[in-house]
Amino acid sequence: MYTFPNKLKNIARALMILGFIGLVLGFIGAPKNIAEAKAMVTSEHHDEGHGEAVEEHAEEIHAEDAHEANTHAEVSHEKDSHVEEEAHDSAHDEHLLHQLQNKPWAALYVAAFFFFMIPLGVLAFYAIQRAAQAGWSPVLFRVMEGITGYLLPGGIIVIVILALSGMHFNHLFIWMDPEVVAHDKLIAGKIGYLNVPFFLGRAIFFLSGWSLYRYLSRKFSLAQDESSDISNHKKNFRISAAFLVFYIVTESIMSWDWIMSIDPHWFSTLFGWYVFASMFVTGITTIALVTIYLKSQGYLEFVNDSHIHDLGKFMFGISIFWTYLWFSQFMLIWYSNIPEEVTYFITRIEDYNITFFGMVAMNFLFPLLILMNSDYKRTNYFMIMAGIVIVLGHYLDVFNMIMPSAVGDQWFIGIAEIGGFLFFLGLFIYTVFTELTKAPLLAKGDPYIGESERFHY
C-alpha cells in the first residue's frame, strides 16, 4: 500500500494556498467600471512589455487609417475623435471592461478545464487498455485509476464554473447573455442548442456517464484482486468497450459546448478530435510522470523501463497526432480563407503569436526531437523533461483555445493565470495521491498481470 508522504502533502497544500491567493488577487484586481478598465489599459501600455505589441498594432492601424473595425481602446485615446466615433468608443470601452472582467474568470476556467481533461484523457487511455486486453499495461492500472480519481471533483468544479457563467457572474459565454443574442442573428439561430438549461443538463449528463464508468471499472478492478475467477475482468472489458463509444461522442460534444461555444460564431468539424488529442497526450504524460515519481520513491518495483519506454512511445506518437490535427485545422481554414472561419486564427496569430507558435514548439518540436531516440525514452531524466514541457505546452493549448475569445488582446500570463494553474495543480496532486493510497499499487488479480510484469522490449 502507498502512503501519501507528508512532504508531498504539504507541497500540494502550499500550491493550493498560493494559487488561491493568486486567484483572489486576480479577482480583486479586475476593474469594476469603465474608468478603471481604461486606466488599467493606459498604464499597462506604458509599463508592461506586452503593451508594446498592442501599441505597434494600434500605430499600424493609424497609418492605414482604418479605425472602424478592430481598433483598440488605445486608438481612441490618441486619435482626435469625431463626434460619431464617440458612441463607437463607448461600446469599445464597455467591451474592454468585459474583457478585463473576464480575465480572472478565464484564468480560473482554463486551469480548471486543463486539470479536468487530464483524468478524462487517462480514463480514455485506461478504457482502451481494458477493451484491447493489453498485456503490457496492467502494472500501471492503479496509477491510472489514481489519476482518474480527480475526474469527479475536477468535473464538478468545471460544471460549477459553467453554472456561474449561466447565472451571469461573468461573460465567458456571450451566447448566455440575452442582450447579445437579441442583436445577433447567428447566435439566435443556435438558441435551440445553446441555451443555459440544456447546456448544463448536457454537462451533468456527460460527467455522470464518465464518473459512472470510472466508479464501476474501479470497483471491478478492486474486486478482481480478491477473486478466484476472471468474471470481474470480463465485466470490465465489456463496460470499457461500451464506455469508449459513449466517450468519443460525449467528449466531442463536450468540447463544442465547453470550449468552442465561447466563440459561438466559429466552428470547426475536427474540434472534438483536436481536444481529444490534447487531453490524451497530457493524460499519458501524466501517467508517465506519476509512475516515474512513484518509482523514484521506491514504489512500483514491478514497473520496468520497458513500460516507461512504451509510455514514451505514446507521448511521442500522440504529440505528433495532436500536431497533425492542429495543422489540419489550421491549414484548411488558412487555405479557404473564409472570413467567418479565418478570424479565429487571425486573432491567435496577431494577438497570441508567442503562445500560439510557442505551444507548437513545446508540443511538437521538443517531444519530437527529445523522444525520437529509443534510449532516451528509457531514461527518466529525458522523460520527465519532455513530460513537463508537454504538460505546460498543452496548458498553453487550452489557454489559446479559451483566452482569445474571452479576453481578446488583453491577455497576460499574470498572477491570476499562474495562481489558477498552481491551485488546480495542488488540488490535482492532493486528490490523485490520496486516491493512490486507497488500494494496493499492483492489480494482482488481473489475468494479464504476469505478462505485464515480464514485459520487456
Partner: protein, 176 residues
C-alpha cells in the same frame, strides 16, 4: 580448411534460444542462424549489435526535408510563382502552410525508400540473387545454426546434440 562450419538443425525456437545461450557460454562463435520467422530475443541471445538503421532513417528524413524545401521553393516561388485560390506565391514563408503536406510526404518518402534500399544493400540482397540459405527446410519449419569449426568437430557435435539439435552436418565447401 579454416572457413569450415558445422550446421545444426533445430525444430523449436525455444530450444534454439537455449542452445544459442549454451553454445555462447562455451565460447563458440555462431556465424549465422537461419529461421523461418523472426525469433523474439534471438538477436540479444546471439549478442548482435543494435541496428543503426534508425540513425540512417533520421538522416534520410533530414535529406528528404532539405530536398523538399529546395524543390518546392524552386517550383512555387522562384521559377514560376503561382496564384492558387487567391494566394499569390511570392515568399516561401507566407505560403509555407500549403507546402507542409508536400514537405512532409517527401520526408517520409526519402526516409522510407532509402531505408529499404540501405537494408537490402546491408543484407547483400538484390534482384535475382541466389539464396545463401544452406537448407531449404529453414523456409518451412526448421531452424539452422551455423557454428564456426576450429578442428573441434567431436566436442562441438556432442555439445550441439546435447542442446537439442535434431540433425548435425558438416557441409563440404565446394567453392574452394
Amino acid at each position: 580448411m579454416s572457413n569450415q562450419f558445422i550446421h545444426a538443425l533445430y525444430d523449436d525456437d525455444d530450444v534454439l534460444l537455449n542452445a544459442v545461450k549454451e553454445i555462447r557460454e562455451h565460447k563458440h562463435h555462431i556465424e549465422e542462424i537461419y529461421t523461418p520467422f523472426p525469433v523474439h530475443g534471438l538477436d540479444k541471445a546471439m549478442g548482435l549489435e543494435g541496428t543503426r538503421i534508425a540513425i540512417m532513417a533520421f538522416i534520410y528524413g533530414c535529406i528528404g526535408l532539405g530536398v523538399a524545401i529546395t524543390m518546392i521553393n524552386f517550383i512555387m516561388i522562384e521559377d514560376w510563382p503561382q496564384n492558387i485560390g487567391g494566394k499569390p506565391s511570392f515568399t516561401f514563408l507566407a505560403n509555407l502552410p500549403a507546402f507542409v503536406p508536400v514537405i512532409f510526404e517527401m520526408t517520409v518518402f526519402f526516409a522510407a525508400h532509402l531505408m529499404v534500399i540501405t537494408f537490402y544493400m546491408r543484407s547483400r540482397l538484390w534482384p535475382f540473387k541466389k539464396a545463401e540459405n544452406p537448407n531449404p527446410l529453414t523456409t518451412d519449419d526448421k531452424f539452422l545454426m551455423e557454428v564456426k569449426l576450429n578442428g573441434n568437430e567431436k566436442e562441438l557435435t556432442a555439445l550441439l546434440k546435447k542442446t537439442g539439435a535434431i540433425e548435425i552436418t558438416i557441409p563440404q565447401n565446394h567453392e574452394e
